[in-house]
Symmetry: D2
Subunit: 426 residues, 4 copies
């Protein structure tokens, strides 16, 4: 992922050096477990633990000669340890180290996302409560429908992020996994007990079965989980962009960017960026799904893909959550404008209430629908008040008293269950 | 989905008529709940329950006039009920019915998939146990690596399908959801208690919050779950295609299709078809992820997509699971050929065992790697037996006794933990 | 594709019967060519031409026994012809017929789309000219930028559809291709001259080289072309949805659908549907790209995919073009509202003109940007006229005369090159 | 794109510095054109040309204050020029520079790919001719079908890469495009003649119409073109992986990587890597297709996506073409093994030839198909020679003479049109 969209601490997690550090962590855990079980001399394990030094430059140098990054890393470790170095990586295949180390990375990366998602839920909840009764137009198909509150809108976001939080937690449990089962998963050269101890030491579960690698449905679930999170962020960002536009102007990004040429512009630039980045996370998930198919006990087709998409998707999702939290926290909400906009539709947002009351009082649904539909149309095209038109219509006068009409044209009618809904999230 | 890939009972679930039947189910549940709570007369609910008749032709006819399928359906119901018909759909918005009915459909569709996935796990487990000790070449990068058993290979498939079974169950719980909260989710014209009762009656949970619709992260999770399942099927089908090829010939589809022009062909056609269909499920998941973004309280962009991809993905996934179960059940496994193929690599599958023993006995890793690598290369290019070359090499003779060499070139060396692995799945 | 989104004549092109009819067309062309070249008796070809009858039911019946649709079709033909029937399909492989027939179908399907795209360009051009000088706000980031005309907006759509028209034409030339080269492309049992004559007779070019099939980069190009077209339609539909919303109300779908519950709604439903369907065409293109990889001289993985995505993508793209043409043709354009909206931003749309003039007259860019940016902000927050603020500012008064200011705040300033742009498309 | 898959000279094209250099190139061209036309003083243009210095560090510093990369760049230029600096970027919007500079980058990036694709076609053609008559099994569904030559297989690759070469050239013409039309495409503050001169100077065509940006169907075509190329590379790489496997062993990557644990392994690692990278190019194309939809005259959603996917897709495609050329050039072809494998199927590859001759000589197709199919099955299961079985069958003896049978079981029968096919590509 390019620097521009890479934020700490996620950024540090995906450097080459961090990867080598995790590899070292796995190799040390293996050496210790093998020593405990008597597969290598205890002094060898002590020497390895004491002397093994990460030397990325040297590992890269060896890699340039032999064309294999993990093997080069092991050789560089051996060099740093001396003779006992030959007990490093004993009986292992590269992916015993790589996939276990990836398990460590994913567990930690998901922990970071979980932290950010939690922070976001708190901000969303706070702002939802703040605007619990801030009236605004509910819109469907881009058109005014019936009144809602801005708090309800934010509460829906909150609920969806909570669901994503659970998905992230599920994915973390799933992928906190290691494997030390050898080239084809038979433990031919390494005792299953080594795997158990290594994983325990690293805070991972051992895969109940593996071939050279962990099966990639696991990673596909992680990346589709990120894609669903990204989709939620895109949805919220799109909503803010929509409410931000000149003609609506109900919200404004607190720290908006301007335009290089047009000094009057205050753009929802962060939300636009988030919308774009979500696409990357989404299409990467597709590549992760393609990665599930591997020939026999392992092939390398998924390797090049994962080197790119796993860091990219985590960095992008991290950026999405962090930046959205900032946007929501600092979002400037214009309650007056919300109220003004709501009145743009000249009372027609109450049309369903009138319709229902007419039906309840005996008018046939089809007749009522046509009548109200006609009056609503007139209100808009003739720029008249819908309530006035309703009150003046003889067929309606027969069925509804003026007081009943007043009750129908009352925003309170639409807010009566807001507390009930909020109460579900306490 | 085209007829060719549509199997019962999944097929019947996604007909237009089945959809209308579910709509009716929801409307009746609503009428009954409203009557219980006094929102409509008890007699109206009784009349509706007694007289409402599904008339698809009539609904279609009305739809062709008014261009709205749910509204047309409601009018056709009203006609069948008579005057009390006006209490049908009281205070509802179309999506109170559509999304709740979709919840019913998805719950049932997932139940069908869960049933098939279970059946598949049973078949896989049975065949894994059957071939627990059927030796074959483990292959990485398409090349022989070390020995495994066919049972281990199938056990990995079993474990992955078990994980998919859990994903399907999780998705089912998630999506067994209804909503009866009105046009913008405020319950303005319908009591939240109606929603609670309707959902309870239908075996669904009420959404804790909704706008006009259920949020689409839910459906995205369902469709990405199907895509992960499809990916697993593709992986297994690809493996069978690979083992099926003329030069490997270790397995054969029990009921293969021949060729129109070449009478000698016995093709793994079912597995090829499954591989292809998995792509459709996968790309549909992407469309489901795009569907998450909806403007304001609802727009219709996801509607046309869902009409196509939801039935298609469920039908295709159903076909994948059913047909794969058939393939695995009837798969002809040629254990002799597996053994012959294993010996194609002239004993080099034991090279890592020799390598490790040399290192254990004191040779430096790099030296050992080069030595063994060279002998393995000679075995292949000069078509000599690797064990003979190993036994004849003076540097090796210094470190390994003939008996040690015999122990290394023993398939049992590779099978020693097979029981341990299988024991984890009892 | 479901009935709802399948329009004539595209619909008729993708029925099973139409496919069989094309197969028959190919088989007849082959028989005739083989007779001309003496590979089969002339009388046999005459008998085949005279007697071969399509009998879909019988072909299906045979298919249910032998599990191969093309082979079953050939047998049903043979039955209809009698003894000379054995000369049908002589020396061919199924895909000589299937891929050549698919070439016919794609050529025709593209012809239909080309026709619709042309019709759409005409409508777009007409409406662009009609609104050449209909002033409206140009918007970037959803915010007012500078004035444009609605005609310019539509002209951009026109230009893009013209480009898609070319893409469709390129794709048609590319895919008007047949192959009659046998099981693996060696013409072992069929003379290359047969291929040449068959293709000539059918209006296709013969593939210069093939294996069992035509290479799938060809079909991938066709489907990515449809996806690009769909993307253009989605873009236009999204723009109309945006301009349609209650607060903007600059355009309206001529035949909008209403709401079942809210009688006052007039929704841009067609544009919403188009936006959704574009997703299906887009993700199908991805499956077509995956289809490029085929093992050896043919495998069947792409077959199941193509049976679904090719008809679906063509039907959806056809629907997109036809319906968009209708929407654009009947689009109700509210020029008054466009003018009113333009004035919502209180003259700040002229800010860049003022900025530039200040710089031209000697103010430093950064100073000018800050000055104008500040005045524009005040205009919006204090609801004052931007021109008044500009005219009243002492630093500006030093550099700009009142007349110069008048010239800058003139819409004509922004329209001066409209004719030039339109002239490029005559 | 990560360093590992970034090769020169493509790598240098996508650095930040290279981007700034192109921006400078555009700004200078604009200043010169504006001076020629009298919009800025000639001395200003001279000063700008003489003094404008790229200072990435300073631009970054300003960007960190104002949050806008292009604007920061312009200010850094102004600083380097002094007072006349205020004439830089006069009347432009950021995207006049960014999109025109992107046109320059894409033109050059495509030139690099075109060069590599040409080189690849030459290698492919050379190797195709080299193996024009190297017999091998043609395979369909992974099973032996009929004989082909390795040269024919490579010639198909050649033809497909030629087609991709054309696609790249078409894309280059398409995207060699600039725009200098201002914030919303009206040329309000910049003469269309400036655009014409700037584009001419830069070797680009001016867009006939634009809004703030070039329309993204253009870029979508570029990225789908890369995806189709990547698909072709994936197909070839997959074929090599298939032919490389232990049991087939017909080809070998010339410089294969070994295994860290298994010294005997010689893996097709490059081809595996290519297969994986193709996925990234493919899914990025999807993001490019999503980028087509932009709100109004511009939004920034596509910006973040393009910053990532455009360099990544070009770098990956470059890597694919370069590395595939190396693989094909150095591919070790084992003609003996090809011949041996061909004989694995015991002569059944001639079954269609026998079938056809029987039909020609009067046997009914269905009877002939069943007869030959049975004999082919016996040949494989009983490990007998198919020709012997054919020659010994009484029904066949009635219709075919021994000499006729000899002619049918002759590889020459299958090679007779090879020259004809090759002749088409001279």
């Amino acid at each position: 992922m390019i620097e521009r969209y890479s934020l700490s601490p996620m950024k540090e997690l995906w450097t080459e050096e961090a990867k080598y550090r995790r590899w070292l962590q796995v190799e040390l855990a293996v050496a210790e477990a093998q020593a405990e079980l008597g597969y290598i001399p205890a002094e060898a394990a002590q020497a390895i633990t004491a002397k093994a030094r990460l030397n990325v430059a040297r590992a890269k140098e060896i890699e340039s000669q032999i064309g294999h990054d993990l093997l080069a890393f092991v050789r560089s470790l051996e060099e740093s340890v001396g003779p006992e170095g030959r007990y490093i990586h004993r009986g292992l295949t590269s992916y015993d180290v790589e996939d276990t180390a990836l398990g460590l990375a994913l567990k930690e990366a998901l922990a970071i996302l979980i932290g950010e998602a939690k922070r976001l839920t708190e901000i969303l909840k706070r702002r939802a409560i703040e605007h619990k009764r801030t009236l605004m137009a509910g819109r469907t198909h881009g058109m005014h429908a019936e009144p809602i509150t801005f708090g309800l809108k934010v509460l829906i976001w909150y609920e969806e992020i909570c669901r994503n939080l659970q998905r992230l937690q599920t994915a973390q449990v799933l992928i906190s996994l290691g494997k030390v089962s050898g080239s084809v998963g038979t433990y031919a050269h390494v005792d299953p007990e080594v795997e158990r101890r290594v994983c325990a030491r690293l805070g991972l579960a051992p895969a109940p079965i593996s071939n050279q690698i962990l099966q990639r449905d696991l990673h596909a679930q992680v990346l589709t989980t990120l894609a669903i999170c990204a989709g939620t962020v895109e949805k919220i960002a799109t909503e803010i962009r929509n409410l931000h536009r000149t003609e609506i102007a109900e919200v404004r990004e607190g720290c908006p960017h301007g335009s290089s040429s047009m000094p009057h512009k205050q753009n929802p630039s962060t939300c636009e960026t988030l919308t774009g980045l979500a696409r990357i996370v989404r299409v990467n998930a597709l590549a992760a799904l393609e990665n599930q198919t591997i020939w026999h006990e392992q092939d390398l087709t998924r390797s090049s893909v994962e080197r790119v998409i796993i860091p990219d998707s985590f960095l992008a999702t991290h950026y999405l959550l962090v930046k959205l939290a900032g946007v929501v926290e600092h979002l400037i909400v214009n309650a007056n404008r919300m109220r003004q906009n709501l009145e743009l539709s000249r009372g027609t947002v109450f049309s369903q209430a009138v319709l229902l009351k007419l039906i309840d009082n005996g008018m046939a649904r089809t007749q009522a629908h046509e009548l109200i539909s006609g009056l609503a149309g007139r209100a808009m095209t003739e720029q008249k008040n819908f309530k006035t038109l309703v009150g003046a219509h003889p067929d309606i006068q027969k069925l509804l008293s003026p007081r009943e009409i007043d009750e129908l044209f009352d925003y309170e009618y639409h807010l009566k269950h807001v507390e009930t809904i909020f109460a579900r999230f306490q």
